[in-house]
Amino acid sequence: MMDHLLTQAIAALSMGLIGAIVFSGVGLISGTDETTTIAPLTLLVALLGVPPAGVFTFFMAGAVAKHMTHAIPTALLGIPGDTLAVPLMPQAIMLRNLGVPHIALRKMVSGALIAAFVAVPLAVLFAVLLAPFGSMISKAAPWVFLAAAIAIAYFSSGRWSSVLLLIPFVLLIIGLQSVTGKYGVKLSVSYFLGIAIGPLIADLFSILSPTYRVGMRRDQVKTCSVAPDVKGWSGYFPNPLRVLDKQQRNWTVATAAISSATFVFSPVAMTVVMGELVGSRIHQAYHRLTTVIAARNGVTEATYIAEALIPLIAFGLPLSPVAAGPAAPLFNAPPRFFVDSATGQINNLHTLMNGWEFLVYGLLSVLLAALIAYPLTMNYAHRAASFVARKVSHESIIATFAGLIVVIGVWEGQLLGLAVIVTVGLFGGLLSRGFGFNSGVQFMGYYAAVLSVPAITKIFT
């Protein structure tokens, strides 16, 4: 018993540390999406046989650290660190134009840190409250996923077109599954990676077509302006609790608590709504800017944590956009972790860890992420942002992802795996570009194909 605990704790500590370090770096590169970076590495960690607690802290510490460092491009370059940072752009740009980009950065990171410490215990609590309904939900899983897919599609920017697009998209996935099934190949990660990397694949196809290429031509390079380096504190880094004033702390805690309870809504939508709520209560303009940016970044952090933790702890089924995307390997990493749709049998972190373990290791992950990413963000933000802008070419990032697509595809299903990533990526990317049928909806579409469709066909046969 003690041995078991010790192995888990050591694995949790070391893997959390590795996750925090790796993803602090990844967060600096703007535009790197969680599903394309965190998901494959978490899958790898799971498949290498790391104890469950280690897999969990690797994911959590990585996600939290990435969220902290992605505040750097957001605040200093005016480029959203990833899609979750988009709602923070107006405040970030205004603070930057006021000459205080460092304040935007500090408020964002401190907001995220406080929100993360609030969100972990609350998400565990909500999950425990929901857990009694777990067996009911897993029995009804096919229908729950169908309803969730339709709801998430409706709330995407494509609205009804996204809802209807679920039909051809689900058919595409079923078709691909039966083709690969003929050759005895069963794929899962390839679909996720295809969906997540879709926009890149669609762009690479477009560039090969003379018709599309005309529209993609540019006669000058993009301008990337780096905000000035301002250090407004003495010592190594400022005390995160003193960066926010009392009102900001209260608002961050309150909005983080509310958003921890929601796990099926998109984090971006929650962030916008909560930001408006806070903004309407603060009367002075500068104070409003800094409070809204702190609270909004807190909300993205809290929603993200809740969306990963609640479905994992309560159901063991990936019932949210985050759980279905970046956190997918915590649920499904065949042959180690799996959800059997036919028998309803679940074998993943849900069954391998209890509520207390999730709580303790969750808090440990946040702590590790804070220890690595917070001082890095506070001291090296300017140098890091300017290094990335000057030295890391977009070509090199595309090379890395091209390699990632091929390695994961071939690893999972030889050439068929690669073909599936490219096919799903191309169609998904085009649908997302043309209709606002975004990757969150596509992840749910994948689950609808895997879980809901067999149940639907059962009714009609």
Partner: protein
């Protein structure tokens, strides 16, 4: 308003008394050397289409090559097939980073990097924008002391107070 650049004072102090950068724009060396005839925008940034083609080829060749070689080698030494495949994937993913590093060395970024400092015109436009937003500028007099102190430290307090007065006068 004696100090039109609120952040620059603290910046100068923290740098140990170095003068703040005078130029508002500083161009990176890479910008002038870029040949613009093959520029395209892919996945949110500008690239040279020839460099892009090479990057995709190198990315695939390096990572897939490493993965295949690792797969052969691990199959000889690691008896658990699933584990040997997982190790090969680790090698493959590391090779992706190597491919990225190689391409970063070969192909320079197609960006014009501008180091900017806050200027008073941009500052004014933010104040104007804030004044028109729902809620408006509000009043610095209502602020809790801690926030007022923070704004004073940043040199923003008087700026907002002035803007507030002007808005009131025009109304």
């Amino acid at each position: 308003m004696n100090d039109p650049i609120p952040g620059s004072l603290t910046a100068a102090q923290s740098l140990g008394g170095h003068a703040p950068r005078q130029a508002t724009q500083q161009h990176s060396a890479s910008a002038s050397t870029v040949d613009t005839s093959h520029l395209v925008e892919v996945w949110g940034d500008t690239v040279d289409s020839r460099h892009l083609a090479w990057s995709v080829v190198l990315g695939i060749a390096i990572s897939l090559g490493a993965f295949m070689v690792a797969n052969r080698i691990f199959a000889l030494f690691v008896h658990d097939a699933a584990m040997s495949r997982a190790y090969s994937m680790l090698v493959g993913l590391l090779a992706c980073l190597v491919a990225g590093a190689v391409c970063a060395r070969l192909f320079k970024p197609k960006r014009r990097v501008v180091e900017e400092t806050a200027d008073s015109a941009r500052l004014q436009s933010v104040l104007d924008q804030l004044a028109t937003e729902p809620g408006g500028l509000g009043s610095v007099a209502d602020l809790p002391p801690a926030v007022a102190a923070e704004m004073k430290e940043l040199g923003l307090y008087d700026l907002f107070a002035d803007a507030e007065r002007r808005v009131k006068e025009t109304v």
